[in-house]
Subunit: 311 residues, 4 copies
């Protein structure tokens, strides 16, 4: 389904070329001051480096409910972002064409039909909804002095007519010890699911991550500080033990593959099982990593706000 | 909460030293033949290489409901595994002691009290429940000719009085195209959450994983076979596009850190904020990777059985 | 939370005087033809007999997503209904005033603040969202030849400056045997929850309902037809046995209390614990029963569409 | 599914003649003292008046996890009740026979197979699990001085070889104002679903219930006390306004039909569509109302404990 979270819960809607995309945030605590500037700046961060994109949408977010006099009511906060361009003619050649490296084929198998215009619901355009909801989550976290900050760790410059991926790291500071659930609902499991749900995510690691496989147990265990200050000397585990935060910064990294759409002749599969060649036009990010940073932050903020609970 | 999945759903219970551990599998389709030999052999695989463990439990699984004449009824299947040893005296020195690299401290912060005997609910003993439920999930998958198989990819020999981690890879074969959900419930996101919920997991990657960050878009996109056979020439994406299976094998890897408990003097934190030194005894795996393989398979089978749905 | 259902799932938002009310229907099967006329006529039925209401809203429903060329995509269908009047000055006297027979006091206790304009989220205006979503559910049911029809069973004419309640009966025809879940998710339990969630509902009974308490067991049991036609001679149970439909018509009745707001001096409670007298103006239905009929149908259709499942 | 509740959550298992029935209570707060005497006495109350039952089971409840030194840990509390009699030979004549007034036919339609021994999972025996879990919920409520008490309001003496139903009323005292959720998760809707899920329930009404349909609005609204004491003069609404408790006692009634199984020749439906006559033996309650009282209390306690939340 299209819902993320339990206590602080986002339900998302919209296709790339439907009238609007948007969502409902349910479970936002009452009494949170709504920071419209933060909302605007987060949406703007998602357009960072969108140089290769011909469609330039300002992505105005219209808040429809759940707020009175600039303060949340504890009721659902609905928001919509109008899609400015809904010309479907640009995309008619995609109606019977499954592009390589895209969800065209799998979506068709899953639902039996799909909105082929610009990727439809499978378009990365849906991340705008995540960012808007993430901004609301950040407003909640800020009240508790919790800060989520991601940055680019690795991101090569794309060659001409090609695209590049990269690695993003993220840190959560100010999270108290005791947040998260044991067994299946571990904080690290929730973060992994959230980050791996971002389009083009291919890997996730907490703390030392894959390097931990090369460490000895005697190196791995983060030793308690013996000077009386709470916390550990090292932070190999990335701030989570047994699925629950330990008060140290939460640290993780995520890998993203390059976007598959390139403005070059591309061999597609057809519903008949044959192939045909098209040259994609429309939106294609040569380098989506800089703008994916705010999406990583948004999903992280949603996870933390959700686990902090609310009613 | 202690429930995993939606359609094929495991609810788990039990502490390391409570009377029993076990679970309820709800949503198993009616009419599945119960393979008791598979159940036994999976439980046995979890004891592989348990050389450093002084406690040798056969882990008999008692099935209590949901089965008539060796066939599932579609009703909840409850199972229990008795804990043979419940002597708590061995563990009294852990009552006011938070070991480094364990969940002792975080669990105490989360709940305000904990069963300190052998790790209590945070003990890796709970993975026996996952393996038993995973065996049931495998019986469901087998009916559809779906096979889950994991193996050790990297696992150094531990030094004396030390422990080692490693990397496990897993492949799902026979999964048809169209399984998984878009947006938040992507198959890769579900697998990531499942695997990262396993004790000591530190990283997860699908297909090329972290290597994908180094690829160009022109390399990344898996090209359709042009010989008329359905599928792709390469499988960089690991069998999932847009969160939905594409009919190719599902491929992922996971990293695990070494177990932190070593039979050497260890500095623990106390509730007063001071430290004290203990020498752990009882269970400690010098190398848990070989036995974690079946846990990875179990969680994977649970995810697939859940997404295949049932009623 | 503000979500109803699991497979066919409505998430609702909006206050009486927010910019809009609306919802997201998630889990509607792909390929359902959208009948806009039905949607319009259902919304119109909700305005039946709204004589005492000074605010006359046409309640245009704007569909924002999930539909392509008049057919559902299987993706979330979002819809909004703009609130035409948002003047809050009319309601300033309600800011520190809890009316008798309303949710003003309980809502304040629950959330610590509330939108006092016209009842805010507790206003019966939210039933417009149920009716719109119910129309979508009916489109799904119609494809399977399932029909939901409610009517007024008892509804006295209100005295001057007073209001009246009543009893509504509902029948579902065409539902095959085998729909519903045993134990906690019984079809009758789902219907009871759905109907009792309608504003002003005070009672619910299936089949013989409260009269069943006066029957002997020898009278109660619906005997099988012996002429070879499937079904029972009587339908005391209202078409549900053990929580699951038996193929006979589903029959239930629901009672509703009269609306409490009357245009006469009314003693309210204040946050200080004192009372003060106001004379309510604005919306107040002297007789809401005729317009509640379509709300009963909508909730029933949502329950059935949900239980029929989808993916 | 077989799970009830969200925060305080019962997952139930077991057939009438499986090895055991039982459940897992997840979300019970840590630190609750376990009152074994209450658990025993509640189980005993469920056997009240079981005179017509040939099977006399003591229903020992074995608690398997989640408790240390008589106090809850906040982890899942699993419990099992062994079925003493599992002789299936008594029931062979029910294998191809759908009794009137039972779930035999509907269950077969739903699942395609069923455990026909004594009703299988559809047997009222599953209410023992509700009562055991309800006892745990009562322990939680008692800490907050909340009391749930039900009693028989109407219950005629059954004629010979016949059975009788009745009406049970229930009161919750000590519940503070502000408990429950608006819109779909109203406290009254949750109670209705809980009570209507009890085997043989046919009706539910809050406060004035069906009588409210006959009241004028000027009579209906419960007026605030003007003497400074918080509360209302009357309690027509049964303590709930807008789905949320108002601090007055919660009042509701429920109707139950008589048990359909009588020790007389009974015409059953067969899978071939023909009828055949059997004379039921085994368990059959001539009057289940006295023992259903504790089931009503259990479900009510589960609802309240769930809504009070926990973590």
């Amino acid at each position: 389904m299209n819902t993320f979270g339990h206590n602080f819960r986002l339900t998302s809607f919209g296709e790339s070329h439907s009238q609007a995309i948007g969502g409902i945030v349910d479970g936002c605590p009452p009494g949170v001051a709504v920071d419209y500037d933060l909302l605007l700046s987060e949406m703007a961060r998602r357009h960072l480096g969108a140089d290769a994109t011909t469609r330039q949408e300002p992505d105005d977010v219209e808040l429809l409910s759940g707020i009175l006099n600039g303060v949340t009511l504890g009721t659902p906060i609905a928001f919509i972002i109008r899609n400015k361009e809904q010309r479907s003619t640009d995309y008619n050649d995609l109606a019977d064409c499954y592009r390589p490296g895209h969800a065209d084929f799998t979506w068709q198998q899953r639902y039996g039909l799909r909105d082929f215009r610009g990727g439809g619901r499978a378009s990365a355009r849906e991340t705008a909804v995540r960012v808007a909801a993430g901004a609301l989550a950040k407003m909640v976290l800020r009240q508790r002095l919790i800060n989520v900050e991601a940055s680019v760790l690795y991101n090569p410059t794309p060659a001409e007519n090609d695209s590049s991926g990269g690695i993003i790291q993220c840190t959560v500071r100010g999270l108290p010890a005791g947040v998260g659930n044991p067994i299946f609902g571990k904080l690290n499991a929730c973060l992994a699911a959230a980050i791996m749900s971002i389009p083009s995510a291919t890997g996730f690691e907490m703390g030392e991550g894959f390097s931990a496989a090369h460490m000895k147990g005697s190196e791995w265990a983060d030793q308690w500080r013996s000077d009386g200050s709470l916390g550990t000397v090292t932070n190999h585990c990335g701030g989570i033990q047994g699925g629950i935060s330990n008060g140290m910064p939460i640290l993780f990294r995520a890998a993203f593959h390059p976007v598959a759409t390139l403005p070059i002749p591309t061999q597609c599969l057809t519903p008949l099982g044959t192939t045909k060649t098209i040259t994609p036009h429309g939106r294609h990010d040569r380098n989506h990593i800089p703008r994916t940073v705010v999406v990583v932050e948004a999903m992280t903020a949603l996870v933390i706000a959700d686990l902090l609970g609310s009613s």
